[in-house]
Symmetry: C2
Subunit: 351 residues, 2 copies
Amino acid sequence: MEKKTVVVVDAMGGDNAPVEIVKGAVDAVNKSDKVQVILTGIEDQVRAELAKYTYPEDRISVLHASEVITTEEAPAFAIKKKKDSSIVVGQKLLKTGEADAFVSAGSTGAVLVGGVLVAGRIRGIERTPLGTLIPTETGVALLVDSGANADCRPSHLVQFAQMGSVYMEHVVGVKNPRVSIVNIGVEEEKGNALVKETFPLLKECPNINFTGSIEAREIPHGAADVIVCDGFTGNVILKLYEGTASTLVHVIKGGLKSSLRSKIGGLLIKPALKSTLKKFDASQYGGAPMLGLNGLVVKTHGSATANEVCNSIIQCITFKEQGINDKIRALLGRDAAKKGSESDKTGKEEA
Amino acid sequence: MEKKTVVVVDAMGGDNAPVEIVKGAVDAVNKSDKVQVILTGIEDQVRAELAKYTYPEDRISVLHASEVITTEEAPAFAIKKKKDSSIVVGQKLLKTGEADAFVSAGSTGAVLVGGVLVAGRIRGIERTPLGTLIPTETGVALLVDSGANADCRPSHLVQFAQMGSVYMEHVVGVKNPRVSIVNIGVEEEKGNALVKETFPLLKECPNINFTGSIEAREIPHGAADVIVCDGFTGNVILKLYEGTASTLVHVIKGGLKSSLRSKIGGLLIKPALKSTLKKFDASQYGGAPMLGLNGLVVKTHGSATANEVCNSIIQCITFKEQGINDKIRALLGRDAAKKGSESDKTGKEEA
């Protein structure tokens, strides 16, 4: 029998914890027999929720963690101070190898900082980006880095491109994914200093399908599968994407109330509009993977409900079964590195 | 009698030149008696277009320029090489003071480079940003820099905030405009290195109404009047804004064809949808001003038709009558500067 994928789930993270988180975990083990879940959090509360459901009881265990990190706390400080928090207790299992993946709807900052400080980076990885799957007209694209590293160097972006490419190909299933760098023009000489330095490195990178620059206006059309940028730019893109879409929908809905004629029309189009907009709802695509760590860290929306938590857990199975981290190690881990990388100097942060 | 605003118009720039450009100039002088237009370009062609219309002939003159800079040419090279192009000939009149403003639908790069090299910066201005008016749910906001300077320093962003503030207050008419810096969180400690360094400078800046950070998702809601960022980030925002809106409208229209019911509904809502989306059409707001130059340089869309050209010419009257450049000089020109700025070393680029 194949070894199950062990997923630690932060039962205390997010707006709907622990109710929706525990429900999502139960749904996941009922849906797939390939997964084993460990819920970290305040044991009484977690068990009280679990008691509501029927599920194979040997497939969910509870690991007590007495503390909870809130979104108000400074991430680095909270991770260092709250050693018995559900995030730290959970991510430790990635470092020791007792678990394959960690899923949380909690503080994004704490999950990211914990990923580096507690789970630890794969040797040779300089920075660990957050990859977010964003909906496009033709499917879905991975935006990497979507917010973990506000300041980046060219070598970081090259690693983002490589890891993102492995993820899109082997987890999402896009063959030979098109990798583009976010730019303000398509010509090679365009861009800021970071992009100008990174462009030739991506062009020379042998193990990706680099298709050049992508202007932000082309992103929604689905012009690339892996969209590479620094975490500041990526976060601006991600949030503007959500903001523009929701504002436009709001404005259109408001406009439909302007006359009786449009009101009637609005009622008639409601079902079609709803199903169309669902395509553009990012929460359909589960959580955002943080790449380059020991194990997989998945950050789901703070507002995640059981369905998104369940999808995020299931997505970890593919990650494990496809041996994504082995592929990343082979491509760009320290064993593959020709020259020492910056992480040589920061061994403390590694496993 | 008040002195007229003299606007040089690049008759050869843009997809619809010279036809729509000349028509826009004619419309402008017919609409307002406060403006005097000088059309630069190939004289025969320009006069042939002018011959089609009735207008006060003493209010439009033609200044022959034998060369045309195309969008395919490298901007800096083209500006240096084509001394008799409509852009260079036109912008020279800003430097000599013979004209107050220059309007072009031609190559953005060439117009921007020409602005600095030919028209010249106001003494004390370190970088001249492009400000684009973007539609929001509640009105309009000035995005500055929307693409002129891909790499910026904190002192540049502070000047962008000050100039943008003057423009919004005195040209657009927003009293005490709210100035925000684009960031990936609202807390002061958030951001990349540039934003973290700029934030305290904006906070201390006495002559702007700084309201802190703005997350990209809040931009469409109209949470700020002046949105400050480096030109790389600004260009990404501008293009994603356009791209997301047009994609979403396209997807919604497609979705409405999915059933007979939604098709009928679609027909009923068409007028309301059209007027709603017009609010989100950037071309309604005329051209993008390039701030901090001798005179005003306005870049209109490459696809500009007569209406946008006319609006852009009219907008120059307010700029002149409100004495925007005098206000900028008083606020942050060299006379106002306490310490020598970088532009001290690059006097060649100045008037």
